[in-house]
Amino acid sequence: MEILKKYPKSIQWLFLLIVFFTLCNTIDIPEGYKFIRAQAEHIKDPNQVAYSFLGVEVRYYPYDTLWRLPPFIAWLPIWLNDSMDFLLNDWIPIEIYDAEIQEYETRPLILQITRIISASILFLIQAFREILIGGVETVVAFTSWDWIDANPWAELPGLPWTIVAAAAIILGYKLNGKGLAIFSAITMIYISVFGQWEPSMQTLSFVMVAAPISFLLGMVLGIWAYRRKRVEAILNPILNVMQTMPHYAYLVPIMVLFGIGDHAGAIATIIFATPPMVRLTLLGLRKVSPEVIEAGKMSGCNDFQLLFKVLIPTARRDILIGVNQVIMQCLAMAVIASFIGAKGLGWNLLLALNQLRIGLALEAGVCISLIAVLLDKMSLAWANKQTDYFANLTFFQRNKFGLFFVGSVILGLILAYVGSIMFKQGFNYFYEVPHNKGISTEAFWNAGVDWVWDTFFHSLKIFNTWLIVEVLQPMRAIYLRMPIVATFVLVMGAGYIIGGIRSALVVGGFTLFIALSPWWDRALVTAYMATFGVIVSVIIGTIVGSLCAQHNYSTKIIIAICDILQTFPSFVYLIPVMMLFGVTDTSVLIAVIIYATIPATRYTVEGLRSVPSALHDAGSMSGVTRLQRLFKIEYPLAFPHIMLGINQTVVFALFMVIIGAMIGTEDLGQYILKALSDAKGGGKGLILGLCVAFIGLAVDNLIRTWAEKRKKHLGIA
């Protein structure tokens, strides 16, 4: 009893581990059990058991339920798919007038709605694209092909690259001075000189449509949630799931509903980018002090005026940070959306990776990263910029940037005209450097890859083999060897110790969903890969973060590096690792580690730096050494914050594991990728996405609950 009083938590963990390992050792693998196989099979076999639910027949191989649960929700993806099929093809047929064939035809309501949405979004993308790089389809939309044939002058010529570059430089200067202007210039010149102008503008047009829609949608939902508690209560779990769902999972149902192409990619991007906007709008509005609201009301504001004249302007910074997040999410999706036909840099990058042309992929990757960093810096500068409403400025001072832009348009047009005379025989490089006609470093990088392979082949192979044989395979085997009852005991027991019965039930619910799906083994493989990535990332991140947090200068540098690395779209991380390790599981894991180390490092630095200096002084006065201060004062106080970093690390690792499926892993991601090429994969993709999200949410629940309790315990909540 005394030991129990003294070490209650340790005894509880010890008991839990004893039960867990006892269960693992007593429950044997059933004879004939094949690992990594979807339980519900479509083939008929006399050894299978079948059940029917909601008209869907499911066949599966029955095993001891202590080992694996039957796939009782295997009907769900098929049912979802059939439902989507029914909604799209049969539900509420309506008469629609088709102007092309000049006849009425019957079309289901949902199909008509999805077609209208698709056409509207496609029109917007096309319009932006043609303003940037030229084309005829926007004009044709308002006239006809015959008209444009008769009036070829009406074709949109597209803006010369010099004008767009000048606009970016002027905007950069206006928002944040010389530094950002120089960076804008470097980005634009790189894009143009490397012949990436057209795909870059295609990507930009895609972002220019998806980002404002996400912004509006997110802001409306955020305001609604702010005004109605019930809406917030409903939105919260939905946003949690949406933010932990892997990018791929959005694509499959979108593809079923909207087909493939730029519009489908944009819709997937809008859905993916909206949650952070909702959250930041809500956060910003919540932060408005009651005094400000009271002042607004006392001035006689009605609800509408209070919202638009008081609340939103006061929450401006958080809302603009939301815009920054939306833009970042849109660029992160630019590559992934290319899986369903979105054109642009992402498509080129994907194609280059598919062809194993690492040099080409690197050029496109650098291009996306530069655009991402530029837009990130610009939107952050916009968010932080304060307007001086009382400044007494002359006409020129007020409008100088507009005037500079007009000047640059004129100059750009003159240059384009001069270019058309100078480069009469070939391409007008002052107008646009065509794709594949710019400078290319592909051969250099490809030679680099060959050199790496030739020089380090044996060392890399030894490392690869060691990692796979000695570390990864045993770890994978341990995860797969876990009987389901032992997993439940471990997961729910951990939930109970950390957060009580409520936490145990929440975590158990998430695990049960995955256990009843046909993909339990694959979920275990996903969990093992993410665990490996998280362990290594946390070790590296904590060490690097702890070292950098010791000095102000190194802190600034590491935070700046983390800022830049976090703006890179996740796909870009695959390029350097593929250069070194080829298309292997090791590549995926190393990409996971690099990607997931960023939040681990950032949160360690922020956690350690947030320890009050008074405590440092108190420690120094007590005569502690630097190491003692770190381990006895700083780490315990920073630990809740570091744990939140680990939480982020888990989500990042899960995302990267799923993206890694593109270069071949055996986890849930591989099935999500397969669902993309399956005509009936909509429901499957969605449920697989939910499985991944639930792994993330279960870990999130445990870590958040623990961190909150610890903060309360330390009195820093």
Partner: protein
């Protein structure tokens, strides 16, 4: 009275003890629930084994054949390109080439795009229809001892003009799940 005494006793019990009792209860509840589930839904391993013994000789023989092919395919390096008659990637022997061809069903987008390059009309239709293809197949031609892949590019909506592209399947990529055609040579 008894209730009051019990509640007083419960309040006096240390939190750590209450927590461990709760944990034991939760663990026991999970195990019992799984045992009950096993009674209703648990499968019998013996049934599985006995059912397997009545499989016909033909099936067993076909399994043997597929096993040998499976062995060849499993010996291929995962994630690296495998070629026949090429200096790039890993080289396939004639028997491996045949086995891989016969067991490859998936034609990758990369192979499709590569094969389109030499056929302008096919490339145009492929882009216009939103990158849609219909049927595709991979076949082993025993007379020429070559592997051929073909696919049909879907017609535009409202038309029926499909284009069939075929060529020699030269490169294969083994993933964790299957083997895919990676290069189709059609010139």
């Amino acid at each position: 009275m008894l209730l009051e005494i019990n509640s007083k006793k419960y309040k006096e019990t240390p939190e750590g003890f209450k927590k461990i009792v709760g944990l034991v209860g939760l663990t026991a509840a999970i195990i019992i629930i799984f045992l009950i589930l096993d009674i209703f839904f648990g499968g019998s391993d013996k049934t599985l084994v006995s059912d397997k013994t009545v499989e016909s000789d033909k099936t067993i023989e076909s399994d043997k054949i597929s096993d040998s092919v499976k062995n060849i395919i499993s010996s291929l390096p995962k994630g690296r390109l495998n070629f026949f008659e090429s200096s790039v990637g890993r080289q396939l022997s004639p028997s491996e080439f045949e086995a891989v061809c016969k067991n490859t069903k998936i034609v990758t987008q990369r192979a499709i795009m590569g094969a389109n390059i030499t056929n302008y009309k096919a490339q145009q239709l492929y882009f216009d229809n939103g990158n849609k293809i219909d049927k595709y197949s991979v076949k082993w031609d025993s007379s020429s001892k070559k592997c051929f892949a073909e696919y049909t590019i879907r017609a535009l909506e409202g038309t029926s003009d499909t284009i069939k592209v075929s060529g020699e399947a030269k490169g294969f990529l083994k993933t964790s799940i299957d083997t895919r055609v990676y290069f189709i040579k059609n010139f």
